[in-house]
Point group: C2
Chain length 104, copies 2
């Protein structure tokens, strides 16, 4: 996994979720596809998806439980997990998590 995205556009205004527990900036690629680079601070949060998402862990560790599943799975730097559209997932972090989220 490279450390950066090249030749992209970055939206200056951030997205803030859960009172600042999650902060991200949107990135737009030349082909129009979108990702966000973000941070989740130690917490347990439930995210809802509209479009399907792929979450890649850049640094840190998280436990994730997808909607309808019992099991929590652990993901660390370099790992990724997918969430279907119109669904949700629970995520638990005990340290700062850096992530990239891909949409669509």
């Amino acid at each position: 996994m490279s450390a950066q995205f090249d030749q992209v556009s970055v939206v200056k205004k951030s997205n803030v979720y859960f009172d600042g527990k999650c902060v991200s900036h949107n990135i737009i690629f030349a082909d129009g596809s979108k990702k966000s680079v973000g941070v989740i601070f130690p917490s347990t949060l439930k995210f809802n998806t509209g479009a399907p998402e792929i979450m890649e862990v850049v640094s840190g560790v998280c436990k994730v439980r997808l909607a309808g599943e019992e099991e929590w799975k652990t993901y660390a730097a370099g790992d990724q997990f997918s969430i279907v559209g119109d669904s949700s997932f629970d995520i638990e972090t005990v340290e700062t998590l850096d992530y990239v989220c891909s949409f669509g």
Copy 2:
């Protein structure tokens, strides 16, 4: 002020300062110059500069006092202020502040 930067590189891993009160992502331009897009949550913080910096307010409002000055000045969306190198500034925010910081 445009809403985004185009044709740039974005570093995936964030910079976290002051226990998450400030979060930013680094951006690198084709000419090698660097900026960061960031957020400051409600707080009063002191930032130290190495290189000179220009801070542009993207959204929100802040009060700033440069090192050696008595007066606090207010900056809102579209405003910017400059800080010399090897100096510091105090910044007070009462709502979420989105900013762009330019270095060099």
